[in-house]
C-alpha cells in the first residue's frame, strides 16, 4: 500500500517582511498607496487655516438639505464619489468601502453609501474611525483581499450637537476645555497592485480601549490622552523607531488642552519627547484668535480632512516625509454619561510615508 499522496504544500511566502511586529503593530509587505483624496467642509472650516486645502467648501451648514443628518450624508457621499472619480476609477473597480461617522447607528455612512455601489462596511470607534479605516483598508489591500478600497469619514457640528449634547438654539455656555465638532467629510482611495500614489501606508497599530475614570464629555481631550500615549509608545517599541523618524506625530482631536497634557504625559511618564514634532488635526482646523472654538476642533471631520486635504497634498509636494496619524476616540454616549459612567477611549495609529523617503 502506497502512503496517501500528500497534498503539495503551498509555496512559502517570503517572510523577509514580518507582518506583525511586537504586541500589535501591522507591517505591510507592499505598502498600499493612497492614490486620491477628496474633502468637503462647512463654511467655518473653510475660513480656518486648513480651508485652502479643502476641495469643496459649503456656503452654509445645510447644503440644500432639510436637516443636518442629510447634510452630513450628502457630504460623505460626495467625498467618497469624488475620491473614486479622482482615482480615475469606476465604482465597479473599487472592491470595498469602509466609512465611519458619529451619528447613532452610523446612519451618516449607511445613507450616504446607498448611492455608491461598492461593498460596504460601516465602522465605529468615534473619532478614531478614520485612522482605523485606513488601517483596515491597508490590511485588506496588502493581504490581497482588495485591489482598491475607499475610506471615508464625516462629522457635522450641528448633527453632533443635537445628538450628543443640546438643541442648537439652546443657550449653553461651553467651558474652556470644550471642543467644536468639525463639519467636514474626507475620503481617500487606497490601492495595491503596484498602484502609484503620493502617500503609502506602511504600518498600523491598533489600540486597546482605555478608561482613566474621566467623566466630563466637555473635556474629551483629557480623557483620550492615555490611549494616544499608549498606542504611540507601542508603535515606537514595535517598529524600533524613535520620534525623530517622523516629521509629525499627528493626533486626531485631542485639541489644545489634550495636546498639552499628552506632551507632558509622554515626557514625564514614558520618556518620549514629541515637542516640536506634534500637531493635532482638531487644533489645526480652526484659528483660535478668530474663531471661538475654545479647545479646538473635534470629530471625524478633523482627521479625515487634515489627512485627505492637507497631508495628502503636502506629501505629494514633498513637504512631508513620514507622518504618524493617531486617531483618538471617546467611546461614550449620552446615555452612559447620564448613568454616571466614565469615558472609555481608544487610539489607532497609521504610518503614512512618502514613497522613496527612507
Amino acid at each position: 500500500m502506497t502512503p496517501p499522496a500528500q497534498a503539495a504544500a503551498p509555496p512559502a511566502r517570503p517572510q523577509a517582511t514580518p507582518r506583525r511586529l511586537g504586541r500589535g503593530t501591522l507591517q505591510f509587505m507592499e505598502p498600499p498607496r493612497i492614490v486620491s483624496a477628496f474633502t468637503v467642509v462647512g463654511p467655518m472650516e473653510g475660513k480656518g487655516p486648513m480651508g485652502g486645502y479643502m476641495d469643496t467648501t459649503l456656503e452654509d451648514t445645510f447644503y440644500g438639505e432639510r436637516c443636518w443628518e442629510r447634510t452630513e450624508s450628502k457630504m460623505l457621499r460626495e467625498a467618497v464619489e469624488q475620491a473614486i472619480a479622482r482615482a480615475g476609477l469606476a465604482e465597479a473597480e473599487v472592491d470595498v468601502a469602509l466609512t465611519t461617522d458619529l451619528l447613532n447607528q452610523c446612519v451618516g455612512s449607511s445613507f450616504a453609501m446607498r448611492s455608491v455601489k461598492v461593498p460596504h462596511v460601516g465602522l465605529f470607534c468615534a473619532c478614531a474611525g478614520f485612522a482605523s479605516g485606513l488601517a483596515l483598508a491597508a490590511s485588506l489591500v496588502d493581504g490581497g483581499f482588495a485591489r482598491r478600497a475607499v475610506v471615508g469619514a464625516s462629522s457635522h457640528h450641528d448633527a453632533a450637537e443635537r445628538q450628543y449634547r443640546f438643541p442648537t438654539e439652546l443657550g449653553v455656555q461651553r467651558p474652556p476645555t470644550a471642543q467644536w465638532t468639525v463639519t467636514g467629510a474626507g475620503a481617500v482611495v487606497v490601492a495595491g497592485d503596484g498602484a502609484q500614489g503620493p502617500v503609502q501606508i506602511t504600518h498600523a497599530t491598533l489600540g486597546q480601549v482605555w478608561d482613566m475614570g474621566l467623566k466630563d464629555p466637555y473635556d474629551m481631550g483629557s480623557a483620550m490622552v492615555p490611549a494616544a500615549a499608549d498606542t504611540l509608545v507601542r508603535h515606537l517599541h514595535d517598529t524600533g523607531r524613535g520620534v525623530e523618524a517622523f516629521d509629525w506625530i499627528l493626533t486626531g482631536d485631542l485639541g489644545r488642552v489634550g495636546s498639552r497634557i499628552l506632551l507632558d504625559w509622554l515626557k514625564e511618564r514614558h520618556g518620549v519627547d514629541i515637542d516640536g514634532r506634534h500637531s493635532d488635526c482638531g487644533a489645526m482646523m480652526y484659528d483660535p484668535s478668530r474663531q471661538d472654538v475654545h479647545a479646538g476642533g473635534s470629530g471625524l471631520g478633523a482627521s479625515a480632512c487634515v489627512v485627505a486635504g492637507y497631508v495628502f497634498k503636502a506629501m505629494a509636494r514633498g513637504l512631508l516625509n513620514r507622518v504618524l496619524l493617531i486617531g483618538t476616540g471617546s467611546l461614550h454616549s449620552p446615555t452612559t454619561h447620564f448613568q454616571g459612567e466614565s469615558i472609555p477611549v481608544v487610539a489607532h495609529a497609521v504610518c503614512l510615508e512618502r514613497p522613496g523617503a527612507r
Binding site: 438643541p167 439652546l170 443657550g171
Partner: protein, 155 residues
C-alpha cells in the same frame, strides 16, 4: 489577586486624573460672573420697565408683574426662534439661563430642534427635555413647602 490589580488600576486612574487636572484651563470665574451679572441684571431691568408700563395702564402690581413675565417669555421665545438667544447666552451664561427668558428658551429650543422629527414625537414630545426637571422639582418642592407651611404655621 484580582483586587490588587483593581487597586493598582484605580491608583493609576487617580494619578492620571490629578496629572490632567493640573494642566486643565480653569473657567474665568470673575469675568463670567460679571457678564452673568450684567446680562441677568439687564433682563431684570427690562422686566421692571415692563411692569411699570403695565401698571401705568391701570393694572394692580401683581397683575402687572404677571403680564411682564409673560412678555419676557414671549421675548425669550422669539429671540430663540430668530437664532439670537444662544448668542446672548454664549456671553451671558447664567445671566441668560436663569431669568424667565431662559426658561422660555429652554422650551422653544428643543421644540424647534426636534420639529423635524415630527410634530408629535419630535416637537411636542421633546419640548420639555430641558425644562422638565424645573417643572417636576418645582412642583414637588412647592407642594412640600406649601404643605409644611400650612401644617406648621397655620395648623
Amino acid at each position: 489577586m484580582a483586587s490588587q490589580t483593581q487597586t493598582r488600576e484605580r491608583q493609576a486612574q487617580v494619578d492620571y486624573q490629578q496629572f490632567a487636572s493640573r494642566r486643565r484651563p480653569r473657567p474665568r470665574y470673575l469675568r463670567n460672573a460679571l457678564l452673568a451679572f450684567l446680562v441677568g441684571g439687564l433682563i431684570a431691568l427690562l422686566g421692571q420697565a415692563l411692569t411699570a408700563w403695565f401698571a401705568g395702564r391701570g393694572l394692580p402690581e401683581d397683575q402687572a408683574s404677571g403680564r411682564a413675565a409673560v412678555t419676557l417669555v414671549f421675548l425669550g421665545s422669539l429671540l430663540t426662534g430668530l437664532g439670537v438667544y444662544d448668542e446672548i447666552a454664549r456671553v451671558g451664561g447664567a445671566g441668560a439661563a436663569i431669568p424667565i427668558t431662559g426658561f422660555a428658551n429652554s422650551i422653544t429650543a428643543p421644540a424647534m430642534e426636534f420639529a423635524r422629527e415630527g410634530y408629535v414625537f419630535g416637537l411636542a414630545a421633546r419640548m420639555f427635555q430641558v425644562a422638565g426637571p424645573v417643572l417636576v422639582y418645582g412642583t414637588a418642592s412647592a407642594v412640600v413647602a406649601g404643605l409644611l407651611r400650612y401644617l406648621l404655621v397655620r395648623g
